[in-house]
Symmetry: C2
Subunit: 316 residues, 2 copies
């Protein structure tokens, strides 16, 4: 493996995907403590909030404050989710360097999640790109085209690979700087992951393609391994596996950041993460989410005996 | 994929690997009810007990009765674990068709688990093969050479691939009919799995090679996917992820049979398992293991919407 092929970028999405289902408000200062601690553990990217209307998801009432706090932290990439142009405009105003636009490949899921037809989502994304391009140089964020329910939909079931390919091509043509393929409801298996990513990578050309997996049916890390083999080197995850989707019944939990970082490190890939420090960040979730179920096997079993982190191993 | 390459054999090891750590006695009739129900759900093989001295593991005081009961069930392959010649002789006497001999690749683990040097374990295996070959035709069980701690050891840490290769070659040369590579303490990652299985398959020649994974650090199903790609088509697992090893601190849980069967089925592989029926068998564990932690994500999330089992899908 070349040196570059060993580098994997992890993005913590728990502050958005994890917290959107948590009714209890996670205090703003604690959100920022979480980001700071996980950044200190080496995680380089954070999706810190969602620019949905706060009346829909009260957890994100502090979106602006969280973004400002995160932007003040050195050395991390700050991203935020945008469902539409209105959300994008909030991101532009704050100078968020990366905006994650989402649309669902499944028609029904898109209607439930963002209340529009998929073609309307695409048209909106084109307007967002146009608005972004009209910003002064140096103020133009990267726009990520996110394909939700790309591995299945809790309303429709299987999602055809050709549909994923089609919307990947549309988002790329519309001007996305990156694509993210999301298994929003945790339906994917490694064979399907290979088929879907192969199709999307073919459409993406030079654009980076990231993966966003949920561990709803135990296949999360197996899907990561399959995506790695396709050449994917960007993964979303959430500390302690917080997460889900309010419009996807039964979809519980992003893949566990701590377990993901361990698997990648064990495989000799370079994530920049210090596993012991990362595990310690769980304490911030524990103290703010009393009674919530935190996931993760590494936290329970600990690192293997005499474990040598990838960064200290001799290059193979 | 050829038709034969789609066939995967699953072996339920919860009655041995799962129960050996459970202090509470699981009634013999309930063990047999478990086997019968899981056989009816389509699981074809069962490691039903262990021929260790009952004073070491009181759970196996009914080994003979369980074997007799299981042998009376139609259409399943019955296996039992043997740590030594004495255990093998108990198996021979009962006419068990398949005996799983175990030794650890890690010297320290072998000393703790079976109280011998690895070379003594090998010598014992040769005596077992000899004793088996002296039995009358039609009474000779298959002998499986099991390589424990092949992906790491809780005493020694990393285990060298060359050591696994060496003991695989020794067991094959000694007359094993199959080999099983076991990640006894759940240290493996997909890259390591590929390296270890590649080495073992090279030594195994025509002998089937099975995989026995634990999900201690979340990598269990990812390791299955990696082994599948190496051509492995035999997997141990335990319903609800019961399992561990009394001499491997922190090693909790075989991979979850129900989640494994789902992943394989979703990938279009043929296991013969009816997923709904399999999930229903968990009730037998629940009623006999009050308070025990049962694992499994499929049991919680349910099958995907409009899920079509592999057996009902058109061949790809």
């Amino acid at each position: 493996m070349t040196d570059a092929a060993r580098d994997v970028t992890l993005c913590e999405v728990g502050l958005r995907d994890g917290l959107q289902l948590v009714a209890q408000f996670f205090p703003t200062a604690e959100k920022l403590a979480w980001i700071a601690a996980e950044a200190a553990a080496g995680v380089p990217e954070f999706e810190v909030t969602s620019f949905v209307p706060p009346k829909l998801v009260p957890q994100f009432v502090d979106a602006e404050e969280v973004v400002r706090g995160a932007l003040a932290l050195p050395g991390i990439e700050v991203a935020a989710l945008i469902p539409n142009l209105k959300g994008a405009e909030r991101g532009f105003a704050l100078g968020v360097p990366k905006l994650d636009f989402v649309m669902s490949v499944s028609r029904t899921h898109n209607l439930k999640n963002v209340r529009r037809e998929r073609e309307e989502s695409l048209a909106d994304f084109r307007r967002i790109v146009q608005a972004r391009d009209a910003l002064p140089a140096g103020r133009r964020p990267k726009l990520i085209g996110g394909l939700s329910t790309a591995l299945g939909c809790s309303y429709e079931g299987r999602v055809a690979v050709d549909e994923v390919r089609r919307y990947a091509a549309e988002l790329a043509a519309a001007g996305a700087d990156e694509l993210t393929v999301a298994d929003t409801v945790g339906y994917g298996d490694p064979a399907q992951v290979r088929a879907v990513f192969k199709a999307v990578l073919a459409e993406a050309g030079a654009l980076p393609v990231g993966a966003h997996f949920h561990d709803t049916r135990g296949t999360g890390l197996a899907n990561v391994a399959a995506a790695l083999e396709c050449g994917v080197r960007r993964f979303d995850a959430s500390l302690a596996g917080l997460g889900g989707c309010p419009f996807a019944p039964g979809a519980t939990g992003n893949i566990v950041m701590d377990d993901l970082a361990f698997m990648l490190d064990s495989m000799g890939l370079r994530t920049g993460v210090d596993l012991e420090k990362l595990l310690a960040v769980r304490a911030i979730l524990e103290r703010n989410l009393a009674g919530a179920e935190l996931h993760g096997t590494l936290a329970r079993a600990g690192l293997p005996t005499n474990y040598v982190p990838a960064r200290l191993r001799a290059a193979a």
